[in-house]
């Protein structure tokens, strides 16, 4: 995979450098899965993989939005809180007897709205995304407790049917509707990034904002758009989470933004922006999911090992990005 040759030879076996992080993630995922299968008999069950998707569907959706933001070289710390706020709002509106359809519309509007506002502040006032989305995070989390201090159960028939619907083969393996929604979001996200003008602009902006501006690309619009997209993805993620838990709780999804950022980075997206793929993000989320599953299967390891392993992986992948970056010079 590596070569020290300085002359740019184009050998057929040479993997383009931009694919290296994604391939490393894929290798890691396969190795981890292989370890799981060799250690635990039940691990080879197809349902284990489906469960990883079911448990991490909302994370996947949010991570797609975060990929857009990180590709422009920004960061969105508000995602976890927006997820919680959306779930909380849906639960509270449903409890108030509102029909599910308007609830969905309202829930899907608030997230992008907040993202749009944050994008505007970031663009027009040139304040760092970090600090603006931090404020957004505080705001959304505060809204959660403002709505209700305790968890609100959801008993709406539409919600419960979405939560319990199982789509699967006769052998009993199944996925939930959330997984299908997550797949749709992933495909749309990947398509937008790869084949549309907006996607090209996102990469250009992340590569070099000054150049993008000089090329006449709509830097401001793109910047605002990615935060609105991230807000939309968080809102969808919030609804999926409310399908999953059938409740809205003010302290749900605390610290989720870190998991999401970790998934995007492990998936090979470079944090300075300009390089990365939605497919990598999917792999990153799967890696996190498989780690959790492995630790659950093991039984003797405690939950905090998850954090230590994720930290270690973050380190390894950032180091890898760094090494590739050095070689590029």
């Amino acid at each position: 995979m590596t070569t020290t040759s300085l002359t740019p030879t184009r050998d057929w076996w040479r993997i383009p450098q931009r694919y290296v992080p994604v391939l490393a993630t894929l290798t890691l995922l396969l190795v981890m899965y292989g370890v799981g299968v060799s250690q635990y008999r039940a691990f080879s069950n197809v349902q284990v993989i489906f469960n990883v998707f079911i448990d991490n569907g909302f994370l996947l959706v949010v991570a797609v939005g975060m990929t857009f933001v990180i590709l422009t070289g920004g960061i969105d710390l508000s995602v976890g809180s927006v997820v919680a706020m959306t779930a909380m709002m849906s639960a509270s509106l449903l409890q108030g007897g509102v029909h599910p359809a308007p609830v969905l519309v309202i829930a899907l509007l608030v997230g992008p709205m907040l993202g749009f506002l944050m994008g505007c502040v970031i663009h027009f006032f040139e304040i760092q995304p970090f600090i603006v989305t931090l404020a957004g995070m505080f705001f959304a989390r505060g809204m959660c407790t403002f709505i209700s201090k305790s968890s609100i159960p959801i008993t709406d028939p539409f919600w419960t049917s979405m939560a319990q619907e199982r789509i699967g083969d006769p052998k009993g393996n199944f996925v939930s509707i959330s997984v299908l929604v997550a797949f749709v979001v992933v495909i749309v996200g990947a398509f937008v990034l790869a084949y549309t003008r907006l996607g090209r602009n996102v990469y250009a902006l992340g590569g070099n904002q000054q150049s993008a501006l000089l090329m006449g690309l709509p830097v401001g619009q793109t910047k605002i758009a990615v935060y609105a997209i991230s807000g939309l993805c968080s809102a969808i993620g919030g609804i999926l989470l409310s399908f999953y838990t059938l409740s809205g709780a003010p302290l749900i999804a605390v610290g989720m933004e870190l998991d999401v950022i970790a998934a995007v980075v492990i998936g090979g997206t470079v944090l300075t922006g300009g390089s990365g793929y939605v497919f990598g993000t999917v792999l990153g989320v799967l890696v996190l999911g498989v780690i959790r599953t492995l630790i659950t299967f093991d039984g003797s390891l405690n939950s905090w090992w998850t954090k230590i392993v994720i930290g270690g992986l973050l380190f390894a992948f950032i180091l890898l990005q760094r090494l590739i970056g050095i070689r590029k010079k």
Binding site: E126, I131, L134, F139, L251, N302, K307, F315
Partner: protein, 356 residues
Amino acid sequence: MSTSKARWAAVTGHSLFWPVVALIALLVANTIYRPGFLSVEMKDGHLYGSLIDILRLAAPLILVGLGMTLVIATGGIDLSVGSVCAISGAIACLHISQQPDQNALGGVLVALALGVGLSLVLGVWNGALVSIIGIQPIIATLILMVAGRGLAQLITEGQIITINSEPYKAVGVGYLLTLPLAIFIAAGVALVVAAVTRRTALGMIIESVGGNAEASRLAGIRSGRITFLVYVISAVCAGIAGFMITANVSSADGNAAGLWIELDAILAVVIGGTSLAGGRFSLGGTILGALLIQTLTTTVYAMNISPQTSLLFKAVVVIAVCLIQAPAFRARFARRRPAAPAAPTAADQPKEQVPA
């Protein structure tokens, strides 16, 4: 322009004008809501009162904020301080809980030394990642922020370690000369940091590294070492703050100790007028910012609003302060832009490392 107008502009234009106004407004609002707010009483040789409480509770935030100020001045950021707080508090409490006599001063001192030592190691780790390997600070410290919580829980084995040690408790709630000991510790650290950075060339060197690390290196400053140093200082400050946080409740909780403190500290630094792009810092501003945040938190508690909802107020404060400071930021950017040549090889230039 008339002179009075110019003077007014100078006052309102000062970077600390709005934070001071906000702090005074909060204090006034508190006094109106609760007339006894400003009173300070003498009981058993100790001073009691809301103002003293605010000072005492702000002490850990001031400590973390001081370290964070230096890191941000170099154009970096340290997200791991909360985890470092949890780790140092956990190791200190663990050591004390294993002592036969938890009140023995010797054991407590060893525990404190262990905590500071471990914080040093963590600071060295952060510093090495940023200055030697050249990872962007926000990400390099994110690693420890995620893994550190796990490490803290590993030390406490997922339990909350409760201790019963008077000398250790004193770090958080003890009194010295009628005032809480924590205030003296925070003030002492602040004085040392101020003396070292403002009475020697170190402060200016840190600012120059924040302004342009590469140019500073060419001018003969060891930029890498300065960057390394600020992360170590930040971790040690966080470690000491960790003692206070755990001593306040006489227990170490790997999950909750120092949670969100990194965000509060960054907030305090920003309110204090230190630019997140680096190159300039104000220690006094950070202390003011920390006091403002603690006053806000205390106010929210006093008004019977749930702690989580206080985040709403914090959000408003962050955005308000940032927006007020924004024109100044933009003016500074406009002046700096032609001076900074677009350097494609500036991968290890901290200024570009906080995603803009």
